[in-house]
């Protein structure tokens, strides 16, 4: 049994197709969606969104947004999305290092919060990307 997934950002459409299973990261924790899910709406935390369709798994990095789940469809209105294959390890590492450095200095509360968020975001991106590079992992991503 499959359901309709729309993964969208304000700037483009990433996925609109029938899928079998979606795992996403809500603010209250990870959740999985199968056909017939109870209607629910959640805000998303930066994290991985895994889509299973048939035997293939696709992975995306979602920086936040809103997801609406209905029994036969799911809409993810994401702030920004990256396909796991597109994550640039170098960039992510530098960004993480910058955030760490900034946090080690005395800064204002607001700045501290933005950098903490940034750090969290980069860690998630890196963990998604590194998983892709370790062959044989259960969450391994197939090529499209």
């Amino acid at each position: 049994m499959s359901f309709m997934l729309s993964l969208l950002t304000q700037e483009r459409v990433l996925v609109t197709e029938e899928v079998d299973f979606v795992k996403a990261k809500g603010v209250d924790g990870e959740f999985g969606v199968l056909t017939g899910h109870t209607p629910f709406i959640t805000l998303l935390d930066p994290g991985e969104l895994v889509v299973r369709k048939g035997d293939s798994l696709y992975s995306y990095y979602v920086s936040g947004g809103v997801a609406e789940v209905l029994p036969k469809s799911m809409i993810v209105l994401a702030n920004t999305v990256e396909r796991a294959d597109d994550i640039n390890l170098e960039l992510a590492r530098t960004a993480r290092k910058n955030a760490e450095e900034a946090l080690s200095k005395p800064i204002s509360e607001i700045e501290r919060r933005t950098f903490l968020l940034e750090l969290k975001r980069e860690n998630v991106r890196l963990s998604i990307a590194s998983r892709r590079h370790s062959p044989g992992h259960p969450g391994q991503i197939s090529e499209e």
Binding site: S6, Q10, V13, I41
Partner: protein, 292 residues
């Protein structure tokens, strides 16, 4: 009869004009293709978030939220989306006409504008209307940040209670040949209605589960809805602008071609007449010499 020299000059100048319009047509058509793709890419998100909020607005428990409340209308905020530049056919004036009609239909109501695009600024200034904010020089690259100043002003005015309704006016992109001036109410968000005014049956009538809770979700969702829809309308407007400009320039180019054709005809006739005259003068001169 114009002289040969003057007509040659005119042909040259029309040829230059044709070159310019031709170049503008090509630039517009290249930009148009990108802008059309962008319209395709941005429509789904705007539609989905709109539908989602329609569904939420139909749920009774959300009524107290200011964004779902209908209040007696004293002031309407209008987000007017126009182009920065001219030479794009009638699309701006069609939108302005629609705005004028809209205002005429609502006597006794104040109107305040948030304007996107220079031509919109001109319209507001010419009409002596009140603008509370304006954004010009927006790029067509699809960067939502550029229009955020405009949407933030509008949302602020609405939450402060200065505006009871917010509408957006823009040109919808239908096809390369067709663009249509459109108006749309953005706030308050009301359950979708059929053409006859009855409530459209929602595909989903139950209540959702919310994480973390309703208030927090709406707080994120509503501004996002507002800016996304306005942003999408700006993208529509770009696609319309380039399409209209391309068509206008194509027409101008073919008009120029026609003018050049007609003038070349006249030019050749004149040239031939001049040659004939010269020959007959020489011939009659030669005759005179022989006879003499």
């Amino acid at each position: 009869m114009p002289s040969l020299r003057s007509i040659r000059g005119r042909i040259k100048s029309v040829k230059n004009t044709r070159q310019i319009t031709k170049a503008m047509e090509m630039v517009a058509s290249a930009k148009m293709r990108k802008a059309q793709a962008r319209v395709r890419d941005t429509r789904p998100y705007a539609e989905k978030i709109r539908e989602l909020l329609y569904r939420l607005s139909a749920i009774e428990a959300h009524r107290p939220n200011i964004f779902f409340q209908v209040r007696p209308v004293k002031t309407i905020g209008i987000i007017l989306i126009a182009t920065d530049r001219g030479l794009c056919g009638p699309i701006n004036s069609n939108v302005f006409k629609q705005v004028n009609r809209f205002m005429a239909e609502r006597p006794g109501v104040n109107f305040e504008f948030v304007v996107v695009g220079k031509k919109g600024q001109d319209f507001v200034r010419r009409g002596g209307l009140k603008a509370v904010g304006s954004v010009t020089g927006v790029k067509d690259k699809g960067q939502i940040e550029e229009i955020l100043p405009a949407t933030q002003v509008a949302i602020e005015e609405f939450t402060k209670g200065q505006w009871e309704e917010v509408w957006v006016f823009y040109t919808e992109f239908i096809s390369t040949l067709t663009q249509k001036a459109r108006s749309q109410q953005l706030l308050p968000i009301l359950p979708e209605t059929e053409a006859d005014g009855t409530k459209k049956p929602s595909p989903f009538l139950g209540e959702y589960l919310y994480e973390p809770d309703t208030a927090e979700i709406l707080e994120v969702l509503i501004p996002r809805y507002f800016e996304t829809v306005v942003f999408q309308r700006v993208m529509e407007n770009f696609a319309s602008e380039y399409s209209a400009r391309m068509m206008a320039m194509r027409n101008a180019t073919s008009n120029a071609k026609e003018v050049i054709y007609q003038m070349t005809l006249v030019y050749n006739k004149l040239r031939q007449a001049a040659i004939t005259r010269e020959i007959s003068e020489i011939a009659s001169g030669a005759d005179a010499v022989q006879q003499g």
